[in-house]
């Protein structure tokens, strides 16, 4: 009974501290609101989207292409006569899917590699560190492009290709954090009490580095969304999903720039920017704050 109560209390306490955190920190609060907004759009948006995003809208049998923004077509139409506003709404889904799944993989892989590389300073640690160095030596976007082209253009392949490299930042930061945590005397105390290596890693070290890996997860979410946009823009995106990057690709190749159709160019970029910004805000741009410590410790 008592343990149940205490779990309940600790959950309640956790919720309260979470709310307090968001309340205290205006940046994190803004980020959370942006995310919630886009999540709602992703779930319910299609219900409100005026048109099917792939549909070539015809009025009186005439293809309504390159329409200027109007009440009917809020942001105008594409050169194929598709409604831009509807595309924009549908674009939230792939962005969130890519963001969340990539961030999840990045967090898990990066945290595990960082934990083991930091804790086992011997052969295993060295191998993992070299692996991270190698990952740092590979140019990121070119790698994703090549791999996606090879595997075939789909959202999951994009996520996979990104996850294969993007863990490196997290791993390096987590490792340096583990290096400092493992030097703290409570870790030594655990060893003196007879705790096994695995117990020390899981029970004593992990809780102390988890906040950092969440932070890197939220940043990775931003990177993943940006990278997906870039890959789609270059024409390697999933042709079955309308993503914001794909919309910009479409706009670019169909001369929207020279026509000055800002209604087509600007909104998808703003959506991407807001979403990435939200990730930065939740992590409060801490990538830059934490970065100086990354290499000092090596």
């Amino acid at each position: 009974m008592e343990s149940k109560d205490s779990t309940f209390i600790s959950i309640k306490r956790g919720m309260i501290s979470m709310i307090c955190f968001f309340k205290r920190d205006k940046f994190a609060m803004t980020g959370a609101i942006i995310y919630i907004f886009f999540i709602l759009v992703a779930i319910f948006g299609p219900l409100f989207a005026p048109y099917d995003p792939f549909m070539m809208v015809k009025e009186n049998g005439k293809l309504m292409f390159n329409q200027a923004p109007s009440v009917k077509y809020l942001l105008g139409t594409t050169n194929m006569g598709r409604d831009i506003f509807s595309q924009l709404i549908y674009g939230a889904r792939p962005a969130l899917i890519v963001g969340f799944t990539a961030a999840f993989f990045v967090m898990v892989i990066g945290t595990l590699v960082g934990l083991f590389a930091g804790y086992y300073r011997g052969r295993l640690g060295n191998i993992l560190m070299r692996l991270t160095d190698v990952a740092f030596g590979i140019p990121f976007i070119p790698f994703v492009i090549v791999l996606v082209a090879f595997l075939g253009p789909s959202i999951w392949n994009i996520v996979l290709s990104m996850a294969l490299l993007l863990w490196r930042d997290t791993a390096r930061v987590i490792r340096s954090q583990v290096l400092t945590v493992r030097k703290r005397s409570f870790v030594e105390a655990a060893r003196v009490s007879g705790a096994s290596d695995l117990r020390i890693i899981l029970v004593h070290i992990t809780p102390n580095i988890l906040p950092l890996s969440f932070l890197y997860g939220s940043l990775a979410m931003g990177w993943a969304i940006l990278t997906e946009a870039a890959v789609s823009f270059l024409g390697f995106g999933d042709p079955k999903a309308i993503s914001w990057g794909y919309m910009l690709h479409d706009a670019y190749v169909s001369q929207a720039l020279s026509r000055g159709s800002f209604g087509w160019i600007i909104p998808p970029g703003i959506c991407i920017m807001l979403m990435v910004m939200a990730g930065f805000y939740i992590g409060r741009g801490s990538e830059e704050i934490l970065f100086p410590r990354l290499r000092k410790i090596d």
Binding site: F140, P142, A230, L248, I272, M273, R295
Partner: protein, 290 residues
């Protein structure tokens, strides 16, 4: 396999090509042959351009370097100065606005920024050319002449600016937080205690030390720059490595794609090496080669 080869080849030519590249063998063997050739310094021939890969990529390499170095320098100079400025204005609303604006530049997709600049300054206002690195028919006698010609610089300007806007965020925010960190160091208080002016303390003590990790972060900046290059070269149709890579990948020109990829990686590794040397020159605590 034959699908990758230009259909205008005769059957016989195709056979020769297939054998030459080992394209008649299973995929893993093809790869081993490729790696073997790579170690011999042979990158093979491009399917699409029907020319040696090495020739194609070396021809466009200078363009990529100009774009990358130009924007890196621009980004780091403005970034470091901006970081010093924001740290100086710490606690003011100027700082908050500046920080948020910088975060926006980091969050905006770089190709999108490029597209907007292109639409405004090139298509609408006509101040800058919209694509390529030089007008048709212009030939430069040397790279130096190209680099000093006004025409080329006009072509370079927009892509360089776009990339610089994207790259500027890292050194700027890093410089700002480092400055704030260093301000807490004992030697800064001691410098004030010695009666030095605030300007001198901020520049000689704070900024000088805060800049060190920013140089370290250049390694990361270079990584971003190489990734950014690929996208921005495509937006501005800049004839560089990144664009070659994108073209090669979309036309399944594997030798060319791999060649470009390897060269990009090589440039990155080399630039990292340069950043390390630069760091050891700036920080007396690090010895060269130590």
């Amino acid at each position: 396999m034959a699908a990758y080869i230009d259909p205008t080849f005769t059957q016989e030519q195709q056979q020769i090509l297939m054998q030459q590249f080992g394209l008649d063998k299973p995929l893993w063997q093809q790869y081993l042959i490729y790696v073997y050739n790579l170690f011999q310094g042979k990158l093979g021939d491009s399917f699409f351009f029907r020319a040696p890969v090495i020739e194609i990529i070396l021809k466009v390499l200078p363009n990529t370097i100009y774009l990358m170095l130009g924007s890196l320098i621009l980004a780091y100079v403005t970034g470091i100065l901006g970081g010093v400025f924001l740290a100086w204005k710490r606690g003011s609303s100027t700082e908050t606005v500046g920080t948020v604006f910088t975060l926006f530049t980091r969050a905006a997709p770089q190709f999108w920024v490029g597209m907007i600049l292109l639409a405004v300054f090139s298509f609408k206002l006509g101040w800058f050319p919209s694509a390529g690195a030089s007008p048709a028919g212009v030939v430069y006698s040397s790279e130096l002449e190209k680099l000093t010609s006004f025409v080329f610089l006009r072509y370079l300007f927009l892509p360089m600016l776009t990339l610089a806007i994207y790259l500027m965020g890292l050194p700027l925010l890093l410089m700002r937080t480092n400055m704030l960190d260093v301000m807490g160091e004992a030697y800064v208080d001691m410098a004030r205690m010695r009666g030095l002016s605030e300007k001198r303390v901020m520049l000689k003590y704070v900024a000088r030390n805060a800049a060190l990790p920013v140089v370290t972060a250049m390694a990361v900046g270079i990584g971003y720059a190489m990734g950014g290059n690929v996208v921005i070269e495509t937006v501005f149709s800049w004839p560089g490595l990144g664009r070659i890579l994108v073209k090669a990948v979309s036309s399944s020109d594997y030798p060319l794609a791999q060649g470009a990829f390897i060269l990009i990686a090589a440039v990155m590794v080399f630039m990292n090496f340069v950043a390390d040397i630069l760091y050891s020159l700036l920080d007396p605590r690090v010895k060269v080669g130590g």
